[in-house]
């Protein structure tokens, strides 16, 4: 199970590349697809589950398109 993952709102993304540059694990890349504005949006490519949910991409995204999810224990559950 992955420790964390991100979701990118591709329609909102303008393909500036700031998240790609800042990602410490280098697991974000430009998509091959275009969005309706004509940009190549960013997408996460994380087959090895390297994302740890640090949130750097979220902090640097000027268009607030990134949501970061982290794996957390549910209350009452033992690890």
């Amino acid at each position: 199970m992955k420790k964390a993952y991100i979701e990118i709102d591709e329609e909102r993304c303008k393909g500036c590349g700031l998240c790609i540059n800042i990602c410490p694990q280098k697991i974000i890349r430009f998509s091959e697809r275009f969005n309706s504005k004509g940009y190549h949006p960013a997408e996460q490519n994380d087959p090895e589950g390297k994302c740890n949910g640090c949130g750097f991409c979220y902090m640097m995204c000027p268009d607030v398109c990134i949501t970061v999810y982290r794996l957390a224990p549910v209350r009452g559950e033992t690890q």
């Binding site: 700031l18 640097m60 999810y69 559950e77």
Partner: protein, 251 residues
């Protein structure tokens, strides 16, 4: 175990897409303001005053009430609003062409009177919306459409340092200069913005945060190069730091 949201769009931002160029730092600062408003729980009583410039539609992007002032007069409008309704939180969001050029008088006098308002000042050393003309904050030697050979001190004068001018005024309660081109700086900028709002909420005086920001389009650079350019050139001319802090601890 289940996935929980660690970071998501703050509640105080409307879902409307920003009208800014790719890589422009306006969006980061918008998000930080919205996060601070969420944390302080003041969304229902906050008013934004947008400037003239790229961020002229800023009131559309926040889930707040707001208006637009005439060019440079955001702080004059904010003064009226705050004096008529002291129970509200009023902040202006201005660029360098708005705050430091046509609005210099309004800025200095609002700060000197110690109006209980907050200003977020975006300094990108250029007029963005009108197509890259020279601003009072343009660096020496920087090429713009109206200084095509580079700004020269003998012809166009020296860049104006807004924080250094305002720090002598006794009405100012919080004054800081910061940048947002790395996650560390984004976190410190958020703290500065929060304190500038606290200066107003604690009734201490005027609060201003100057954010050194990029304009990739008019600087003629890609967003990554523009971010590095801030470290290489802008920070040398505009040193970062806290100039006035009467707020104390964040509580």
């Amino acid at each position: 175990m289940e996935y929980k949201v660690a970071y998501k769009m703050p509640e105080s931002l409307s879902k409307k897409q920003f009208s800014y160029c790719p890589g422009c730092h306006h969006g980061i600062v918008h998000r930080l303001i919205a996060e601070v408003i969420d944390e302080l729980g003041i969304r229902e009583k906050t008013i934004i005053i947008a400037p003239v410039g790229c961020s002229v539609f800023a009131y559309e992007f926040f889930e707040l009430d707001g208006t637009v002032a005439a060019h440079g007069r955001a702080l004059a409008v904010a003064t009226g609003m705050k004096r008529a309704r002291p129970d509200l939180v009023v902040f202006t969001y201005q660029g360098d062409g708005d705050l430091a050029a046509i609005g210099t008088a309004e800025t200095i006098h609002a700060a000197n009177r110690g109006e209980r308002v907050t200003t977020i000042f975006i300094n990108n050393a250029i007029y963005g919306m009108t197509g890259g003309q020279m601003a009072p904050t343009t660096l020496l030697g920087m090429k713009t459409t109206t200084s095509p050979y580079g700004r020269a001190a003998e012809r166009e004068g020296y860049p104006i340092h807004v924080c250094e001018v305002l720090k002598e005024l006794r009405g100012v309660a919080y004054l800081a200069r910061t940048k947002v081109n790395s996650p560390k700086d984004v976190i410190t900028t958020k703290k500065h913005i929060k304190k500038a709002f606290l200066a107003q909420l604690k009734d201490l005086g005027f609060g201003l945060v100057e954010v050194l920001s990029t304009c990739p389009t008019n600087w003629g650079m890609d967003p990554l190069r523009a971010g590095k350019w801030i470290d290489e050139h802008m920070v040398k001319e505009y040193p970062l730091g806290v100039f006035v802090d009467k707020v104390g601890e964040e509580k």
